[in-house]
């Protein structure tokens, strides 16, 4: 049951991230997310990294209150958010933005689709127009693009 809850939260977090990314990061917190698109903050960590504080605080609160109640559902919701955060950093920092060259030559269709969609998102340098706000799930057409070529 607890495992299911963690998995459910993990999946819901993709939706939440999509919403936050589309309506908040590209909305009233655009000033924090801007340098991630136009690289106006050269050579240093991006202000965008501060978003992880925004994800960490609810996780800490949920895990804390959940622990006080003998590790009830709140704790596992927090755990789901934390695991999503870890997956996000793993995929975003390591794979998509190629901070390391681990997966540069991957032939995995899922990873290729993610990278392609994220590139599409970064094609737009401004705040207003934009597409592909998800991280671990992207529009079907990108999956089709690579899963087809993988089969043929």
């Amino acid at each position: 049951m607890k495992v299911l809850l963690v998995i459910l939260v993990f999946i819901l977090m993709e939706g939440a991230t999509w919403l936050i990314h589309k309506y908040i990061m590209h909305g009233f917190l655009w000033f924090l997310h801007k340098d991630h698109h136009d690289h106006s903050n050269k050579g240093e960590l991006e202000k965008n990294d501060w978003f992880f504080v925004i994800f960490a605080l609810p996780t800490i609160a949920l895990m804390y209150f959940g622990s006080l109640e003998n590790f009830n559902y709140l704790f596992f919701i927090g755990l789901g958010i934390m695991l999503y955060g870890m997956a996000y950093f793993f995929v975003h920092d390591i794979f998509i933005h190629q901070r390391i060259k681990f997966f540069t030559h991957t032939k995995n269709a899922y990873f290729l689709a993610l990278r392609r969609a994220h590139k599409q998102h970064h094609k737009h340098l401004g705040k207003e127009e934009g597409e592909c706000f998800g991280f671990l799930y992207v529009p079907l057409k990108y999956f089709r693009m690579y899963f087809k070529s993988a089969k043929s």
């Binding site: 240093e44 960590l45 990294d49 501060w50 992880f52 994800f55 960490a56 996780t59 800490i60 895990m63 804390y64 622990s67 006080l68 934390m82 955060g85 870890m86 950093f89 793993f90 920092d93 390591i94 901070r99 390391i100 060259k101 681990f102």
Partner: protein, 228 residues
């Protein structure tokens, strides 16, 4: 002979690294000045913390194992601890860093800081009544936030891996201090003030405390040796 125990622990902690410092391939001896300045800079607040905890009985020292010279309630050896332990740690990092750049590791910094801050915050919040646990988590969280977001260093994951390697030295040294292999511990802890989770005889807080001390000395060492 017993009175030399703590002094001998320190001696064996540094002696191999000290001799190896003069090796032509390492030449850490050229960095002694930068190291000493960095270590003293970090030692001052850590010794103040140590004096505070000793005065409040969070921990105390068995003087059967020390030379008997003390300052502000701390045995001389305990003060030298803040130079000797970082010496071997920074020597190890410096030597590894000379030969292995491992630049790819910086990609894991966000992941490392994210998970560490969450775990430390939750543990700290749950144990505000245990002062060693609480202060250790606060200091480590602030250290990580400063180094990652303000100083923006790129070596956190690398330093953390080196710290894991340093556990090979940490276990015997801190083991003896906390009572492994000898009749009584040299450092005794008030059971009310820490989690009570011990790795062999070593309270888990000691490892986290050592981690933030190591990161801070390394940070100042890198700054000072670059400035030279």
């Amino acid at each position: 002979m017993m009175a030399y125990t703590y002094a001998l622990i320190l001696f064996f902690t540094i002696i191999i690294c000290f001799i190896a410092s003069f090796d032509k391939r390492i030449q850490f001896n050229l960095q002694f000045g930068s190291f000493l300045k960095a270590a003293i800079l970090v030692a001052v607040p850590f010794i103040a913390w140590d004096i505070w905890f000793t005065a409040h009985g969070v921990w105390w020292f068995n003087t059967d194992y020390t030379l008997g010279i003390s300052f502000f309630g701390l045995p001389l050896e305990e003060i030298l601890f803040f130079i000797c332990i970082p010496f071997s740690c920074i020597f190890t990092y410096y030597t590894i860093d000379k030969y292995y750049k491992w630049e790819v590791l910086s990609a894991f910094n966000n992941l490392l800081v994210f998970v560490s801050i969450i775990i430390l915050s939750v543990v700290g919040l749950l144990h505000t009544d245990k002062i060693y646990t609480l202060i250790t988590t606060i200091v480590t969280i602030l250290t990580l936030i400063y180094l990652h977001f303000i100083a923006k260093v790129d070596w956190l994951t690398k330093a953390s891996l080196v710290f894991m390697l340093l556990m090979l030295g940490f276990f015997p040294v801190n083991g003896v201090l906390t009572g492994s292999f000898i009749e009584n511990p040299i450092v005794n802890y008030n059971p009310k003030d820490f989690l009570g989770i011990r790795m062999f005889t070593i309270p888990i807080e000691d490892a986290v405390y050592g981690y933030s001390q190591f990161l801070l000395v390394l940070y100042f060492f890198k700054k000072l040796s670059k400035a030279k």
